[in-house]
């Protein structure tokens, strides 16, 4: 279809660089739960490394459903839940979100297993990286099925005991190398 005066395509992506300010990754953004939220509160923790070791000041952005599997904007979505969060990694590449275990959600691609969508930004990342983690033992999910079977375990969270009385699930993220995390086009 030819359109006159077609508007320009989306603006080119550029890296956030090494100096993404802590004032824009304030700790409050890493807490998705609000007083009175539904479901089980958990810690979603992770460690992120590149080819040469821990990645400091990686910016991780989490999108997920609420405890009942409702997506942001759905009718009846939990008003006491944020659906989106941001955390920056520390010098050891560690990050943490306080969130809930999401419910399974409806999706045109098929019913989704509980899952945590992550977007990763940082110095040297020219195009944001997108991936998705699942609770331990997940097998059925239309996005997980797009991943070669041998690589699927890399997208499963590990049970990492408790932290402050809450269940802790841990993601291991490797950006480049033999144990590289699978990433998606988005």
């Amino acid at each position: 279809m030819i359109r006159r005066n077609a508007p320009p395509p989306s603006t080119a992506m550029q890296t956030v660089g090494p100096f993404f300010p802590s004032s824009l990754a304030e700790p409050a953004l890493a807490t998705l739960t609000r007083e009175g939220h539904a479901g089980e509160a958990i810690w979603l923790t992770g460690d992120i490394a590149d080819e040469s070791g821990p990645f400091r000041n990686a910016i991780l952005e989490l999108s997920q459903a609420d405890a009942k599997g409702r997506v942001a904007g759905d009718r009846g979505a939990d008003k006491h839940f944020a659906f989106w969060g941001r955390a920056a990694s520390d010098g050891a590449g560690q990050f943490a979100f306080r969130t809930v275990l999401p419910g399974p959600s409806a999706d045109p691609a098929g019913p989704r297993a509980p899952c945590f969508e992550l977007l990763i930004l940082g110095s040297g990342i020219m195009r944001r990286l997108a991936t998705c983690f699942f609770p331990p033992g997940t097998t059925q999910d239309p996005v997980l099925r797009c991943v070669p079977a041998a690589l699927r375990p890399r997208l499963l969270l590990r049970d990492a005991g408790k932290r402050g009385g809450l269940r802790r699930l841990h993601a291991t993220i490797r950006l480049h190398g033999a144990d590289e995390t699978p990433f998606f086009r988005d």
Binding site: P18, S23, F83, A106, E117, G124, V143
Partner: protein
């Protein structure tokens, strides 16, 4: 909303020679294809604390060093429609080319009258005005002889996470653009040009504008367009 993948030539090559972090942090494997989940396409921009501030005057009555500027930003979708209530995050170096960040090793001085970051929302037409100073160029740490040209970082959150845009805005007639590996990493010349702000001649600046500011206009285009029935 439709979310077509961007054209390859309009986006940066992920690995840039002379920028070692790009090789260490770019996956070696091809990115996997998947259906775009509703989780990434649904919902308004996240609710975040916003503050309309003048970055050029972190301390009221004490202007920061540098040329005072105003950037009239418009956030649109790929149909050119204004995106209301987009969250726009801004950060940049001060006039001397120094970031207010503990990791910045530059010898250039900090300026406590300059506020290095802001977070604001677009209005109903997708517009917002940014009041700041023109940032300075700076040498890239540990890179040999590579300098970044003056630039402003933008992070934009629109409707649905897939519209997420992180980019940089540059200034016209800057000879340093042609030497910048990050700006040059976008293959298409027009796509590069679209990252460069347009300066308004001072006599054409809006009448309401504080005359002690140079005025620029700039458009950020987020991914996605409304489903339009074929004509």
């Amino acid at each position: 909303m439709r979310h077509d993948p961007p054209r390859e030539r309009d986006q940066p090559t992920p690995v840039i020679e002379g920028y070692p972090n790009t090789a260490r942090r770019t996956p070696a494997a091809k990115l996997l294809r998947r259906p775009l989940p509703r989780l990434l396409t649904a919902g308004a921009a996240p609710a975040m604390p916003l503050a309309s501030i003048d970055m050029a005057e972190a301390v009221p009555g004490k202007p920061a060093m540098g040329s005072r500027i105003m950037v009239q930003l418009r956030v649109v979708d790929e149909d050119g429609r204004g995106v209301p209530d987009a969250v726009v995050e801004i950060w940049h170096a001060n006039a001397a080319g120094r970031y207010d960040h503990p990791a910045d090793p530059a010898r250039a001085p900090l300026d406590r009258h300059f506020r290095g970051s802001a977070r604001v929302a677009s209005d109903r037409e997708g517009r917002l005005a940014l009041h700041t100073i023109k940032p300075g160029a700076y040498p890239v740490p540990d890179s040999g002889q590579w300098w970044r040209p003056a630039h402003i970082h933008f992070s934009v959150l629109g409707r649905g996470a897939v519209t997420r845009l992180v980019t940089q805005m540059y200034f016209a007639s800057d000879p340093m653009l042609e030497w910048d590996r990050i700006w040059l990493s976008v293959p298409d010349a027009q796509a590069r040009a679209r990252m460069v702000a347009t300066q308004l001649p001072p006599h054409e600046a809006p009448i309401t504008t504080d005359i002690e500011r140079l005025v620029f206009t700039h458009t950020l285009v987020l991914r996605g367009r409304e489903e339009t029935p074929p004509a």
